[in-house]
Amino acid sequence: MAFYSQIAHNVLPPLMTTSSTLGRGAFELIKSITASSDSDITFADGSNGVTFDSTFKTYCFKFIDIHGSVNFRHLGFDIQVSGGSGFDEPKISSGYEANHSQTNNGTQFQAATAIDLIDSTNLQAIIYGIGNDADEAGAGELWLFLPSDTAKNMHFISQTVNHTDDDKIRHTFMGGYTNEPGAIDEIRFKMSEGNIDSGTIKMYGIR
């Protein structure tokens, strides 16, 4: 059987032919929030047009030009299970960082021990040591895998880059999981101190 798109445009339609996936980009923008001297940016299921449930298997957040009000502070996240409060779910994590100074007089390639967590409810920093000069910021992405699963640990992986307070490029990878049972349906981003002065956080879902 010839498809319309084959006849009209000589292209085959996508192989996945279900109503929920065909014709979509697999990377679906759920919500984009631009900061304006905000103490935090929160994405909660059912609030402010956010879907954060089993509709999507995987979620990805993109951080664009995150600028904090206080020098040498870190953008991080806390998570919360459905029905929980206080964003106090414990996390365990590890990662590494690669740094290079603007003056070309030093590099580091090492474990990111300053921001890893050991079964801790603290903020999980993912962009470490952002400078707060007017042109300094950080960017990157965070993946959450199957947060709706109530039995398994929810794994996360982030990759970020930033201009540090002491004028270095810092590339950071962090990975980890939460041991808390229950479906995760809220995530809150904030600086380790002060406000998110500006920047955008975009939430995407993959079904």
């Binding site: 798109s5 979509r24 590890s94 050991i118 895998f145 039995a151």
Partner: protein
């Protein structure tokens, strides 16, 4: 005979449907010995997501292998990989960041290459991550790939692994197989996407 889906959803999106195209979504059932994904030259890049893949056996390694037009249907094409990782003990007894010389494959190995090591098989354990395979259909170059994965190790250790490599053939790749070094894949899902040219 035209199907309902073909009639209703066979529409032209004029390239506005996005560049990450869902190809398949495999939900793993208890007893599945492997997951095989078909790849080819349709896309410049294949992107794969592992979601909470859980082994039936304790301390099994999660790995993969490739099939090509020249491998007679076998998943044993030669590979060269590098492997490094970060680890964190759940009990706070230590962390590491190092290359793992025992977990890479060298030369032209036809064996499965490792992605996750000694996974726990408690209910909450598993491995999640993503993988990119570039230009699988090339008949000129070897094929490059990289993986980032986070796992719960059987010894209650959080591990983030970085695996990269190239498949040492100029035959086009036709598939990739994921499996455990022992036992079955028990649950989770593996999704395959194509990145539009």
């Amino acid at each position: 005979m035209a199907t309902y889906n073909a009639i209703k959803y066979n529409v032209d999106y004029a390239g506005k449907a996005g560049s990450l195209v869902p190809i398949s979504d495999t939900t793993i059932s208890s007893g599945d010995s492997n997951v095989i994904l078909t790849i080819d030259g349709t896309y410049d890049e294949h992107f794969i997501i592992f979601n909470a893949v859980h082994p039936s056996a304790a301390n099994a390694d999660f790995g993969a292998n490739f099939r090509s037009t020249g491998s007679s249907g076998n998943f044993n094409v030669g590979k060269q990989t590098g492997f490094y990782r970060c680890t964190q003990e759940e009990n706070g007894s230590g962390e590491t960041f190092a290359y793992q010389s025992g977990k890479d494959v060298a030369g032209n190995s036809g064996s499965d290459f490792e992605i996750g090591s000694s996974l726990g098989n408690a209910n909450h354990d598993g491995i999640s991550g993503y993988m990119s395979i570039f230009n699988a259909g090339s008949t000129t170059f070897e094929k490059s790939f990289f993986i980032v994965a986070d796992e719960t190790h059987g010894g209650n250790i959080q591990i983030m692994s970085f695996v990269s490599g190239y498949v040492r053939t100029t035959d086009a790749l036709t598939g990739i197989r994921f499996r455990m070094s022992s036992g079955n894949l028990d649950s989770g899902s593996i999704q395959l996407f194509g990145v539009h040219r």
